[in-house]
């Protein structure tokens, strides 16, 4: 071990403390909610006096939550899949071709990052009312596609950028038609980017609240909206229980993706080989 001065050692300890505090701060809400979820009393108090699982049972039984979960899955599956296809197509075109207004199109595609979610939701609400579009799943899905598109686009675009063109050229030199190159080389090599894009879109869409509040109806309300409606009437820990399940499910999904593809690749912070 290299010799270190007292000053360096203090700096090291200080650094560790600061990092621990930041991590604790990041996890604080999740920890508080988790503890609250096991409260036996029907109030959201902290810390709990007695412990129980009953709010988990209540959350799983409550019809609005069940339906919201089901609706959320439908919306998420459609929205992230459509966004993936649209986003991948645009990412491909933007990466491979140059054409007039390319910058402008890029700007439009990432504009939902700048435009607030409630604006998008309100816009869809007005539009749906204007053209007499019933407030079914189509509106919710269309709205979500727009909201998650920038993330999918980014994810696929970064993977495309990192993809060395010589792979595709090698395939072409071996006699593969452009379609064959796409199916056997480009898409398999882009898979981590596509999966991560889809995953991000799915998590964002499933958690999306602000815009969903405008465009969902009683019949199509997603889980976050159902939770909001619930919390306006009741203030018991079943909300907290639901949150804990949310966190566990999302963590499991990411852990699964990590085992399957490697987290670095899924988050696109690591170049694919």
């Amino acid at each position: 071990m290299t010799p270190r001065s007292t000053y360096q050692r203090m700096l090291g300890w200080g650094g560790r403390c600061v990092v621990s505090l930041i991590l604790a701060f990041l996890l604080l809400p999740a920890i508080v909610v988790t503890i609250a979820a096991f409260n036996d009393k029907a109030i959201l108090s902290f810390p709990p006096q007695a412990w129980s699982w009953r709010w988990f049972a209540r959350a799983l039984d409550y019809p609005d939550f069940r339906e919201g979960f089901h609706n959320g899955l439908i919306v998420t599956a459609w929205a992230s899949t459509i966004a993936l296809m649209v986003g991948a197509m645009f990412a491909f075109v933007i990466d491979r071709y140059s054409f007039p207004l390319k910058r402008a199109i890029e700007g439009v595609l990432v504009s939902p990052l700048v435009i607030p979610h409630f604006t998008v939701g309100l816009g869809f609400l007005i539009l749906a009312a204007q053209i007499g579009w019933s407030r079914g799943f189509a509106v919710v899905i269309a709205c979500h596609v727009i909201l998650v598109l920038p993330f999918v686009l980014r994810s696929v675009y970064v993977s495309l950028r990192n993809l060395d063109q010589s792979f595709e050229q090698a395939a072409a030199s071996l006699g593969a038609t452009p379609l064959r190159v796409l199916l056997t080389v480009t898409l398999p090599l882009l898979l981590p980017g596509l999966v991560s894009g889809w995953l991000f879109a799915a998590i964002l869409s499933f958690n999306e609240f602000t815009a969903s509040l405008f465009v969902t109806s009683q019949r199509t309300q997603t889980l976050p909206v159902a939770m909001y409606n619930y919390v306006r009437e009741f203030a018991d820990p079943s909300m907290a229980a639901l949150s804990v399940m949310y966190i566990v499910a999302t963590a499991a999904l990411i852990a699964f993706a990590n085992a399957f593809l490697g987290l670095g690749k899924v988050l696109n912070i690591e170049q694919s080989e």
């Binding site: 060395d164 010589s166 792979f167 050229q169 090698a170 395939a171 072409a172 030199s173 071996l174 006699g175 593969a176 038609t177 452009p178 064959r180 056997t184 080389v185 398999p188 090599l189 080989e273």
Partner: protein, 362 residues
């Protein structure tokens, strides 16, 4: 078509621009059947562009490219029957070695049985038998290169295109792979275009080489021709080590020009000097092995002082400071020079009377 059919690949007055930059300027080049042709030049000289035109990754702005006598200007890469090896090998990371090699056979709908046999055969050829199920990332750099070569060879291409394939290998492995590649190429009689910026690689591998700079072919010839009789100052200084000395033109006639430097007289090719008057200044290009050391008292081309000795095993490189010139490089076979000419010795420098080249001074 006699004459026509000689060239396996023919570039005819090919021009390629990237925006305002002219990457290739009216380049014509014929590559014979079974020939190992090297495109040599510094980066940006157009050598890679020429290779990419042959591969069909780019199209020419003017001129035509023919493979096997057929114009391929409009033919996409996948119909060209080429084998290509990339600088980074471009092995498909999501496929096994066998699937990588079989890729070109599958696109040609070769039956499964024959496919397996040909993959086995070509793996044996590149000395990787038994590696079928490995993934590219499990292989060493040299092994990856062999797989890349096998993948390009297995389809029996009309032309093999090599884009700086050795640049990622360490020196010893590189030399071994070069010999091996050349043997395989010779055995199969495969027309090959090889791109490199490494002049020693070009000299040791090529049947013929094209030295390129600024989008033009400066000289086309066998390695021996290019090394011995460079056609211009760029080729003279780019290919092989060389010393540039300032001399004086003595006479020009049909058999050659005579250059004087000190007491030395050198006979050089006359072409660059047609119409030049005697005693005009010339740049004399002398290879390190064409210089000899003599006692400084003897009549010689110039005198200097030994500034450095670089022992290379089989030979010694001596660096000599001479007033009025850049530091000279002199190559002496064996190791006697180490003892005979210690550092700081005042020496006389003699130049071989034949075999140098010279161009009018700029």
């Amino acid at each position: 078509m006699p004459g026509q059919s000689e060239a396996a690949v023919r570039f005819d007055a090919v021009t390629k621009r990237f925006g305002d930059v002219v990457a290739l300027d009216d380049v014509s080049l014929d590559i014979g059947r079974g020939e190992f042709m090297t495109l040599l030049g510094p980066s940006g000289c157009g050598k890679t562009t020429l290779l990419r035109l042959a591969a069909g990754f780019l199209g020419p702005d003017a001129g035509s490219i023919a493979i096997d006598g057929k114009c391929v200007n409009q033919l996409p890469t996948y119909k060209r029957e080429i084998g290509m090896m990339f600088q980074n090998y471009a092995l498909f990371p999501h496929m096994s070695v066998a699937d990588n090699i079989a890729y070109g056979l599958k696109t040609r709908h070769v039956p499964r049985q024959e496919c397996r046999k040909r993959v086995g055969d070509v793996l044996a050829l590149v000395k990787l038998a038994g590696m079928e199920d490995r993934r590219p990332r499990q292989l060493s750099g040299g092994q990856q290169q062999r797989v890349a070569l096998a993948r390009a060879l297995v389809i029996n291409p009309t032309v093999l295109l090599l884009d700086e394939p050795f640049s990622a290998l360490d020196k010893n492995l590189r030399a071994a792979m070069q010999v091996e590649l050349r043997e395989i190429q010779r055995t199969l009689g495969l027309t090959t275009i090889f791109v490199t910026h490494d002049q020693s690689e070009a000299l040791s591998l090529s049947d013929r080489m094209a030295v390129m700079s600024e989008g033009k072919i400066r000289q086309l010839g066998t390695p021996l021709e290019v090394y011995r009789t460079p056609r211009d100052r760029f080729v003279a200084s780019f290919v092989g080590d060389t010393n540039r000395l300032r001399g004086r033109l003595v006479s020009v006639d049909a058999t050659g020009a005579v250059i004087a430097l000190g007491a030395a007289r050198m006979k050089v090719p006359a072409e660059p000097f047609s119409g030049r008057g005697a005693s005009s200044a010339v740049d004399l290009f002398v290879r390190p092995e064409q210089l000899r050391l003599v006692n400084s008292a003897e009549p010689c081309a110039m005198t200097g002082r030994i500034a450095a000795q670089v022992y290379q095993g089989g030979h010694v490189d001596l660096q000599i400071d001479c007033s009025g010139h850049d530091r000279l490089l002199l190559r002496s076979a064996g190791d006697q020079a180490l003892m005979r000419w210690p550092l700081g010795t005042e020496v006389g420098i003699a130049i071989d009377a034949e075999g140098c080249t010279a161009f009018p001074a700029e």
